[in-house]
């Protein structure tokens, strides 16, 4: 796996984590 490929995986991972955090934020404050 090249360095740039690892960066792509990192970007995708951070994306999923960001959306998950936002989903948690919505769920927590709208319950």
């Amino acid at each position: 796996m090249t360095a740039m490929s690892k960066t792509y995986v990192r970007v995708a991972t951070v994306w999923v984590a960001t959306l998950a955090a936002l989903y948690f934020f919505q769920s927590y404050f709208t319950r």
Binding site: S5, T7, Y8, V11, A12, V14, W15, T18, Q26, F29
Partner: protein, 574 residues
């Protein structure tokens, strides 16, 4: 505003112009002027890209949106990181290896001059108009807030930007963008802290956010599959994916930035800065709107935020009616404030049933406030004749000038100026590049005389600055024009992306297929826009798919493409 705040804005504008020109290096050749001699570090390009996207419309319009309806708009940005990965793998190496100045140059190498000129012309027209709107929208608001006429505020935004862009080229744009981005983020952070500190002592930030949650303002995921709903998870991840691919992959105002990076990997890294930070930054902008809503639950807001219209109604024959509405609004505010405090108290107590009943009570009081405001808006529309009246863009500037301390007002106003100017500078530079490279050098004169081309480039920057200023002043008088211009952009964004996808993704595509496909894509999007209620983010997907499919079919039918000096596929690793 106080003299200190005016002083801060004046010092900021003067320093910006001086610094922009001072930092310009190697601008004796057009590669230096347009692409900074391909020497910029990734972080400067990344911040510049983000500054260009974050316009004053975002600062005042998006915060207003957060105030009025909440954070649903955030979903529009969910596809951005994925779009960045796709662009990093596909467009970036193609463009860098091609050693081009504009994205449209690539289309001539791949197809023909006609396709290049047509797409460049679409870019020039739409971007020229939208640059006017980028100036006009904040200029209208600022003119009301700081008491200057709208022509003056349009020129205050456009002229300093034109000066440093014209003399400094893309280096001036990029390095001033970096500093403007710092100011914008600092300003947004300061506003957010001030709003949190402005909440009453008996309501914590968490309790306040729970109150916002009961109104639906914190809904950042809507899984509705109704295609007419503008912002859903699906429009944000599928429809907007095509919008971002088009914007970052084919729009000269973005492509030019990463062409100025030192290498392919530096260009990719610059895009990943947006991939990491765009959603959080946009969330910060929107949560400021939500905090303004919460702040004005406990601090009396003006019934209407546009002071000019407010004053007009007070001086009209229906002033008595307006005063009665203000009294009613004041009573509704007090009732809603009490309901909000009781809701916070119930949440603190942990009794779920009580909290639910207090939430219902609060929502009913909120509806009362909205009902009175709606009556006031109808009155304004009747008195002013402005049937499109909408004051959400005035909420954030009103908060700034009425509730922030001296000094911070000037900084925040300077941040709004910075947001507008960074966007305008990037677009002027891109407009000038495309004018000179795609038209002047291509069709008029290409003798390699750098001094002459540089002179024409500066003249083109000045021309587009004047064009945008005229559009801005005109748009300020015809408010509805802004919407027309915005819709015009989404009319062909997807179609242009389709042409590039065809160029890169279908090796047997020819110029006839590309051109017919482009026209077909624009035609179908035009039909969908006029005859259906399909949300605009889907138009990008529709345009791209139609161009690709029609282009493919026409290319197959009309025969193999002519031999061209086609751009080699990238050798760099992905």
């Amino acid at each position: 505003m106080s003299a200190i705040d005016w002083g801060i804005i004046a010092v900021y504008l003067t320093w910006l112009v001086w610094d922009g020109i001072r930092l310009s290096k190697n601008t004796t050749e057009i590669e230096g002027y347009f692409l900074a001699s391909r020497s910029l570090p990734w972080w400067a390009v990344g911040l510049s890209v983000m500054a260009t996207q974050l316009s004053a419309i975002t600062m005042i319009g998006t915060t207003g949106q957060g105030y009025a309806v909440g954070m649903g708009l955030l979903q529009q940005y969910y596809a951005l990181p994925i779009a960045m990965i796709i662009i990093a793998v596909t467009f970036v190496p193609f463009f860098h290896n091609a050693r081009i100045f504009t994205a449209y140059e690539y289309l001539e190498r791949r197809f023909d001059a006609k396709t290049r000129s047509f797409t460049a012309l679409l870019f020039l027209f739409s971007r020229g108009m939208s640059t006017g709107v980028v100036i006009s929208a904040p200029a209208v608001v600022l003119s009301v807030m700081i008491g200057l006429d709208v022509t003056t505020t349009c020129l205050l935004l456009a002229l300093p930007t034109a000066v440093y862009t014209m003399f400094g080229g893309v280096q001036a744009v990029a390095w001033t963008d970096v500093k403007q981005m710092y100011l914008i983020v600092f300003g947004l952070g300061a506003a957010c802290v001030a709003l949190m500190l402005g909440l009453p002592d008996n309501v914590s930030v968490g309790e306040a956010l729970h109150i916002a949650g009961t109104t639906g303002r914190l809904q950042v995921f809507d899984f509705s599959t109704d295609p007419s709903v503008r912002y859903t998870f699906w429009t944000g991840t599928i429809g907007a994916l095509f919008l971002f691919l088009s914007y970052f992959g084919t729009d000269q105002s973005q492509v030019q930035r990463y062409l100025a990076a030192k290498s392919i990997d530096q260009a990719r890294s610059s895009l990943f800065m947006s991939a990491y930070w765009k959603i959080p930054l946009q969330a910060l902008v929107m949560i400021i709107g939500v905090f303004m809503f919460l702040f004005y639950l406990f601090t009396p807001p003006p019934m209407l935020f546009n002071r000019a219209h407010d004053q007009r109604v007070r001086e009209s024959a229906r002033a008595g009616e307006y005063a009665a509405l203000e009294q009613k609004f004041s009573e509704a505010f007090v009732a809603r404030k009490g309901a909000a405090e009781r809701l916070a108290e119930a949440q603190r107590g942990g009794d779920a049933a009580l909290a639910a009943s207090r939430a219902a009570e609060f929502k009913a009081e909120e509806q009362n406030v909205l009902g009175v405001r709606a009556e006031a808006v109808s009155l304004v529309k009747a008195v002013s004749g402005d049937t499109t009246y909408n004051d959400i863009n005035y909420v954030f500037p009103t908060f700034i000038v009425t509730h922030l301390p001296v000094g911070l007002i000037g900084l925040l106003m300077a941040a709004i100026f910075a947001a507008a100017m960074s966007t305008v500078a990037g677009e002027l530079s891109a407009l000038s590049t495309s004018t000179v490279i795609d038209f002047y050098r291509r069709w008029v004169r290409d003798d390699g005389d750098q001094a002459h081309l540089l002179w024409v480039s500066k003249l083109a920057t000045l021309f587009w600055a004047l064009f945008a200023s005229v559009v801005a002043i005109w748009a300020a008088e015809l408010g509805s024009l802004i919407e027309v211009v915005n819709r015009f952009g989404s009319f062909f964004y997807g179609s242009i992306l389709g042409v590039f996808l065809l160029a890169i993704g279908w090796s047997r595509a020819n110029s006839t297929g590309a051109f017919v496909g482009l026209l077909a894509g624009m035609g179908v999007v035009g039909y969908v826009t006029v005859n259906t209620t399909v949300a605009f983010l889907w138009h990008n997907l529709i345009g791209a798919v139609v161009v690709f499919v029609v282009g493919m079919i026409v290319s197959e039918v009309s025969g193999p493409r002519k031999p061209q000096s086609a751009v080699r596929a990238p050798a760099a690793d992905v």
